[in-house]
Amino acid sequence: MRPTGPLLLITVLQGLSGGMAVALTTALIFLRPSAELAHAVRMEPLIIVVALAGGVASFFHMHRIQAARFVLRRLKTSWLSREALTTGLYIGGLTGLAAGIDLGNWHGALLLGTAAGVAGLGLVAMFVTAMLYSTITAMRSWHSPLTVIAMMGVGVFSGWLVMAAIFAVVGTNPAPLREAAAVAVVLGLLLMAVKAQQWHFFAGARTSVMASTGTGLPLGPHRLQDSGTSRIPYKTQTQIWPDLRPGPKRLLYGLMFLLLTAVPVAAMGAISAGASPAGWFVGGAVSAVVGAFLERWLFFADATHSSRVWFTDHVKRASRVATHRGSPALLERYRRLSK
């Protein structure tokens, strides 16, 4: 599918902000009642900015803003309606929290409870967004729980790192930061595993719709013989996008793994091993955020839509399970008998 700026921004930033909220809430829990708490509380508006940037992007993703008032009409069926609602609630929650901290001077259980609630909303919003993608049956690469796990994973991981990096920069006590780094190593490794699994799934999705059921012609190879209007790309059909060539694709995936997981995990490892946190955290966080954008770009660009059966050739593939083995003796015996 064709990747677009607004979609990249909204999904990456929404995840990032959600992850930051989760990290913040964790900090609130574990830092209490330390001096760092004050720092932590002051981070709140930042999360709002990130979330709002995503929200604004999503707003401009709408091509007809005059119809925006209808977006909640289909809460019963549309994950997009739900996304609008949950992301809206989340941003509202964030704002409420910030206002509460500033004006209401919340602290203690009220602060913690509200922050946890908002972080929870963030996770729900992330989940709903991810469900939006994962429930699209036609987008073969996305139609899997992996989509939800990976999307939330990227959000939490990148948000966690960014939040930790900020703490590190503003000079938080290194001990909890080392613990945060250790958590990040685990998260990063898990994410790597999930993404690897998802890459594999994407590859499988490529062949999961068959030209034979798409055309009624059983015999492969199937070859598309059109030029002109039946050939991608159309400017008007965004679900389809020319295949990435295998070379560049491998390169991009490698880069994505490197930036999103390998570099951050290594950086966190260094911190756990005793390196001074600020520099490593910032490096790791920047790498993860850039990696998250790349991950999302690939998520769109490399996705296989079922309609691809009418846009590309389908080669005849040999069986993947056949072996060089003659007919079993039983069959031979049967043949002899029936002679």
């Binding site: 209808f70 719709v209 009624g216 013989q225 209007t229 400017k235 009418w310």
Partner: protein, 220 residues
């Protein structure tokens, strides 16, 4: 009632008449326009019905297939529930799936949700458009009777396209689907398309193989 168009692949010659007559009607129809990008440069326009040419099999056992592909007006149209605004809807009275441009925000989620790649995005108007089963023709009582059918059906030079109600067991389309092993595309995706295709129906050699072999052996 579920309106549908059946295409007989045993007769479709891939002439793209249906593709053009669709554009021709809808350009100025109730659901138009159907715009074109860079019309005299490197063109890429909107079409609600596109003909795919597919070749399959190995020489000399090669098949060449033409597949006209427009909205399938699915029973369980996946494009409908995903739409946040309700702009995409399926009419209960005739099963036609339509887009209400006034409510559409142009999010294009329905484009991704449609398994068939038949929805297209109009960047200028900011809405998604697609085949309407020509409801504006069907319901326009000022038109002569023979024009109250989809433009693509009216124009088809091989009469490969047949229009009718798939829920009516007696209708021509139902009978064709029943008798000629009509099939829908990508059934595994569960959208339950109303649009069906009739498979190729080769006419066999008029002589028995043995007869030919006998003559061959005896004289050639």
């Amino acid at each position: 009632m579920q309106l549908t168009i059946i295409t007989d692949l045993n007769k479709c010659v891939g002439c793209k008449s249906c593709q053009v007559s669709c554009k021709e009607h809808n350009a100025s129809g109730a659901f138009g326009s159907v715009p074109d990008h860079a019309p005299y440069n490197d063109p890429d326009g909107m079409w609600w019905n596109r003909i795919v040419t597919m070749e399959s099999g190995e020489f000399p056992n090669t098949s060449v297939l033409y597949l006209p592909k427009a909205c399938m007006h699915c029973y369980d149209a996946p494009c409908v529930p995903v739409c946040p605004t309700g702009a995409s809807y399926k009419r209960v009275d005739n099963g036609v799936v339509l887009v209400d441009y006034d409510a559409c925000i142009g999010c294009q989620l329905c484009i991704w949700a449609c398994p068939y790649g038949v929805r297209e995005f109009d960047e200028h108007e900011g809405v998604v458009k697609k085949c309407t089963m020509c409801v504006d023709r069907l319901e326009d009582e000022s038109l002569p009777l023979r024009e109250r059918q989809p433009a693509c059906v009216q124009s088809c030079p091989t009469h490969a396209r047949v229009f009718g109600d798939l829920d009516d067991q007696q209708s021509e389309v139902s009978q064709l689907v029943a008798q000629r092993q009509g099939f829908a595309l990508l059934p595994e995706l569960g959208a339950r398309p109303a649009v069906h295709y009739l498979p190729r129906r080769p006419s066999p050699v008029v002589l028995a193989e043995e007869e030919v072999l006998k003559v061959m052996e005896e004289r050639y």
